[in-house]
């Protein structure tokens, strides 16, 4: 494989330069342009509607994150679900939770390292690579590696928390476990934007290969598509989405956004691309409906979003009978 990569040197150089350029553009956008756009958008919306619902900074953060999750999660979920890997998000979320726990403990003693989501990201990507390795080693996406990583990751998280018992995790830990729309600091909104852009970019570049492998793995191999590489792309993208969505959905419920809107859409659609778009529509409906329900009924946002998504799924199933 190394030889092949060397032979494609011009392509690799172009891809590397393109990647660096993309990082610079995305970075500049997020640090400079995005806060201005964010304030302008919500300022206008607030003046126009004048309700607490759109004027509260907390909810503005929550809505923005939610809308982005509603795009990114079903998008990636469409490939994951159709490969019968529905629970992979759940496994990655639980290891991401271990990352959060480590991040909180480290952050409590080292001021500048107080970014638990970055630790979550690292943990999720590492476990994604580990899962991929296990899948290849054990020759299938069986649910055994998933169950091991899922429970193992959560166990590490719990172990770390109990070890750092003296530290007051309180609300922050709780919000990573169960999700909290009112607890999304602005830098996490920025991180969310970055992750969404990266996910959109990666899916845009690899949609054809991901779809081919998802639908007909053997034919994709025959067409000499690098199946191993694109499997890795998909699982890493999944890890990014999971970490991004964890803030409002919580580690325990995050997989729902990958799975339920997609399941509903695939029930109704007659083609994959239409299913993909419909999954995003359902995802947005679940996020917005869930946030409103959470506000009016005073229930946890993550749970409300999942319940709305589930209602959409049941409607889709009943509608197609």
């Amino acid at each position: 494989m190394a030889i092949e990569i060397l032979q494609q040197r011009p392509a690799v150089t172009r891809a590397t330069l393109g990647g660096l350029l993309a990082v610079v553009i995305v970075g500049t956008f997020i640090y400079w342009a995005f806060p201005i756009a964010f304030d302008a958008f919500w300022g206008t919306t607030c003046t126009a509607i004048g309700s607490w619902l759109v004027c509260s900074t907390f909810l503005q953060h929550g809505f923005t994150t939610g809308i982005l999750v509603g795009i990114a999660a079903p998008l990636v979920g469409a490939y994951v679900v159709n490969r019968q890997m529905a629970l992979i998000g759940e496994a990655l979320a639980h290891t991401a939770f271990a990352g959060v726990a480590i991040g909180l403990v480290v952050g409590a003693s080292i001021e500048w390292a107080n970014y638990p989501l970055v630790f979550a990201l690292a943990a999720a990507i590492l476990s994604a690579i580990g899962l991929q390795y296990l899948a290849v080693k054990t020759d299938a996406y069986g649910d055994v590696p998933l169950a091991i990583i899922l429970t193992g990751g959560f166990a590490i998280g719990v172990a770390v928390i109990s070890y750092g018992e003296g530290i007051a995790f309180g609300r922050e830990l709780h919000s990573y476990l169960f999700g909290n729309i009112l607890f999304v600091p602005f830098e996490n909104v920025q991180l969310m934007v970055a992750l969404t852009l990266v996910v959109l970019g990666m899916v845009a570049l690899s949609h054809k290969q991901l779809l081919f492998i998802t639908f007909d793995r053997e034919a994709a191999q025959l067409a000499r598509i690098n199946v191993w590489f694109y499997d890795m792309v998909l699982i890493v993208v999944t890890a990014l989405v999971v970490v991004a969505a964890m803030q409002i959905m919580g580690a325990i419920l995050v997989a729902a956004m990958l799975v339920i809107p997609v399941a509903a859409a695939m029930q109704v659609a007659g083609s994959f691309n239409r299913g993909l778009l419909l999954a995003i529509v359902f995802g947005e409906a679940a996020v917005l409906g869930g946030i409103f329900a959470s506000y009016y009924l005073d229930i946890a946002s993550g749970a409300a979003i999942v319940i709305v998504a589930m209602l959409i799924y049941f409607a889709a199933v009943l509608g197609t009978r």
Binding site: N82, L205, S206, K208, Q209, L211, F212, T214, F215, D216, R217, E218, A219, Q221, L222, A223, R224, I225, M266, A269, G270, S271, F272, N273, R274, G275
Partner: protein, 250 residues
């Protein structure tokens, strides 16, 4: 004429269960080769090894004169697997989406061009499923699904088509049209290798027949093949030597 596929002393085993033993055969470009043999005789495995989807334990395979595992022009190969019903029928895919996949390896990471879309439309027309393009492939009949997969191979501009029992579960009338289509494609210069149970069909359409049961019993022109006793030997050895072999072992 050059060889599309060259199999050289290939052996393969699943664990200690031998599947192929010292098989050598050559498929010349533009030929229509029928591959027959009893159940569990290693036909599907041989086909996968020919296409570079599986590596032989020993021996070598060349595709268009390049070692199969280093053959990079995937678009030249078309494969319609046994019961080609990928994704076990739960993933919604329109017929056009499936056929468009034939262009994916050509496109790489770039967007599909107008020419790609045009080739897809031509492939749909060629196998006569252009009126089904928007339908969900999982809701079609077996024959229509097989045509969809053939169209995908055509869209990839494959010049080697490997078919593994393509008409299982297809009604008699569709079978006739299907084999007619294969003859047309073969006349147009596409090399075809086909695994088929129906020996009547094979002798009618194939130029050459290879009879396999772990070993290659015969590989020759169809007319000559009928005069040999290879068929009888291959099938009887299956019955005598391995009475315990399960039917679906290949």
């Amino acid at each position: 004429m050059t060889a599309a596929i060259d199999v050289d002393h290939v052996s393969f085993a699943y664990g200690d269960q031998p599947v192929l033993r010292d098989v050598s055969m050559t498929v010349e470009e533009g030929r229509f080769v029928g591959l027959i043999g009893p159940n569990g005789s290693g036909k599907t495995t041989l086909m996968k090894i020919m296409l570079g989807l599986q590596r032989p334990d020993s021996g070598a395979v060349r595709l268009f004169d390049v070692p199969a595992d280093r053959f990079s022009e995937g678009t030249r190969l078309g494969y319609v697997a046994q019961h080609a019903k990928a994704s076990d029928g739960r993933m919604p895919m329109s017929v056009r989406e499936v056929v468009t996949m034939g262009r994916y390896a050509h496109a790489g990471v770039r967007r599909l061009a107008d020419r790609d879309r045009q080739i897809v439309e031509e492939a749909l027309e060629q196998v006569g499923i252009d009126d089904l393009a928007e339908r969900n492939v999982n809701r079609l009949s077996g024959g229509q699904q097989q045509r969809t997969f053939i169209a995908r191979a055509l869209a990839s501009e494959a010049d080697l088509l490997a078919l593994d029992e393509p008409t299982v579960g297809v009604d008699a009338e569709s079978k006739e049209t299907f084999y007619g289509l294969l003859d047309e494609l073969n006349d147009a210069g596409i090399t075809i290798v086909m695994i088929e149970h129906d020996i009547g069909v094979i002798t009618e359409h194939a130029d050459e027949i290879a009879c396999l049961n772990e070993e290659l019993y015969a590989h020759c022109e169809t007319s000559r093949f009928l005069e040999t006793d290879a068929l009888e030997r291959a099938f009887s050895s299956a019955r005598i030597a391995r009475p315990d072999r399960t039917v679906s072992a290949d």
